[in-house]
């Protein structure tokens, strides 16, 4: 983990902006993972029927309601609450959506062993607005997931494209896609727009995953450990076709995925720059001059640049 307060560094947040996710292997201690699985199995008995409109036969006392501040969710004694209150996880959450965000919803994604269930690629939103605000979704795997053992499939860098939820189901394979495999206690932190899908679990172990969506309650501006921001935050002259820095946020944002090519990649970069402007509050920020060029010209007419 980065700084002692467990908040993310500027370059980690820049990587989140570029790729739409961060990964933290074995972040949750082993003993706690096992207790969480017991709790998830009880929670699943409520969540799974409810999700298909069937009234659950059991209830888990104290289940959080939508719009509850996270600090009031799963109060002690709760293993799940312990996980959500780990300083390392609190630091990650606070860095991206601020302290004590709102609980949106959660779900237990359990894939029984030797199961063939497979999801199409999708986004967890019907469609998004054009503003740069975002929710995060924590994907927590309390048990080891082996290669091909039902780990979530996801598409790095897909989070800023405006699509409807199921519109991306048509893509069976995309270059650079990831299939999660990793040790128990691993946390994936997704921008809410990241394309993803559940995969079959042909292994002989049940795959457990807990997902929770969190909404920010404060503007998501400079919430991380910004001690390094001045050092790596480039100015608008950082331009691949003029002079460029190799140690800047801009160079993190330039890194494209194998499916992002050519001019399409430049549009991706513009989207990332817009998000970085929001996160830093720097409306002059740019990488490779795409927005600044237009804004300079628009200023000649006393207008704001379109697009």
């Amino acid at each position: 983990m980065p700084a002692s307060d467990h908040c993310l560094t500027t370059l980690e947040v820049a990587r989140f902006v570029a790729e739409g996710y961060l990964r933290f292997d074995a972040l949750v201690p082993a003993g706690l993972n096992e207790r969480v699985i017991e709790e998830l199995s009880r929670l699943a008995q409520v969540k799974l029927p409810q999700a298909i409109g069937v009234e659950p036969k059991a209830e888990v006392p104290g289940r959080p309601q939508t719009l509850t501040p996270l600090s009031r969710c799963y109060p002690p004694p709760s293993a799940l609450g312990e996980v959500l209150r780990l300083p390392s996880i609190q630091g990650i959450i606070a860095s991206l959506v601020g302290p004590d965000p709102l609980y949106d919803h959660d779900f237990v994604h359990v894939l029984p062993e030797r199961g063939g269930y497979v999801q199409h690629l999708h986004v967890d939103a019907i469609i998004d607005s054009r503003d740069p605000t975002f929710d995060i979704q924590l994907f927590y795997f309390p048990r080891e997931v082996e290669e091909g053992g039902g780990g979530t499939r996801f598409i790095p860098g897909s989070h800023l494209r405006r699509v409807r939820a199921e519109q991306v189901a048509r893509y069976q394979h995309i270059l650079g896609e990831e299939h999660f495999a990793g040790p128990a206690g691993t946390l994936l932190v997704f921008h809410h727009g990241l394309w993803h899908a559940g995969q079959p679990n042909p292994s002989d172990r049940t795959r457990w995953m807990y997902k929770v969506r969190l909404n920010p309650r404060v503007p998501q501006v400079r919430l991380w450990n910004t001690g390094d921001l001045d050092e790596v935050h480039n100015d608008p002259s950082d331009h691949t076709f003029a002079t460029m820095r190799f140690d800047s946020v801009g160079n993190v944002l330039r890194k494209m995925q194998p499916w992002q090519h050519g001019h399409e990649a430049r549009l991706e970069l513009v989207q990332r720059v817009r998000l970085w402007r929001y996160l830093t509050g720097d409306e002059q920020y740019d990488v490779d001059y795409y927005l600044t060029r237009l804004e300079q010209r628009a200023a000649l007419l006393g207008k704001e640049a379109g697009g």
């Binding site: 494209r161 405006r162 699509v163 394979h173 499916w259 090519h261 549009l267 989207q271 697009g307």
Partner: protein, 91 residues
């Protein structure tokens, strides 16, 4: 004998048919009784390469005018080409 259709969707890096494949999907009306394609790597290096292997292009994307205010928006993968081949299989 009967004729079955195989459909191959290729998403290309750019609007030209000879640019690299970045995503793909294969739908097999032969239910495995016809020629197969690799699943874990792009079946062809480009759309043009699929033509050379006997696939027939049945849909190509048209250029879209850019509407004011959405010049920089990104959405679904833009360069979607659809191919088919018809396979004779035993009943």
């Amino acid at each position: 004998m009967s004729i079955r259709q195989q459909v191959l969707q290729l998403w290309l890096a750019e609007a030209a048919l000879d640019t690299p494949v970045v995503a793909w999907a294969f739908h097999d009306g032969c239910e495995g009784r016809g020629p197969a394609l690799p699943a874990d790597e792009p079946p062809y290096g480009s759309g043009a390469a699929a033509l050379c292997d006997g696939w027939c292009l049945i849909q190509a994307p048209s250029p879209q005018a850019v509407s004011a205010g959405s010049e920089h928006e990104t959405g679904p993968l833009p360069h979607e080409y659809v191919f088919e081949r018809r396979i004779e299989i035993a009943d």
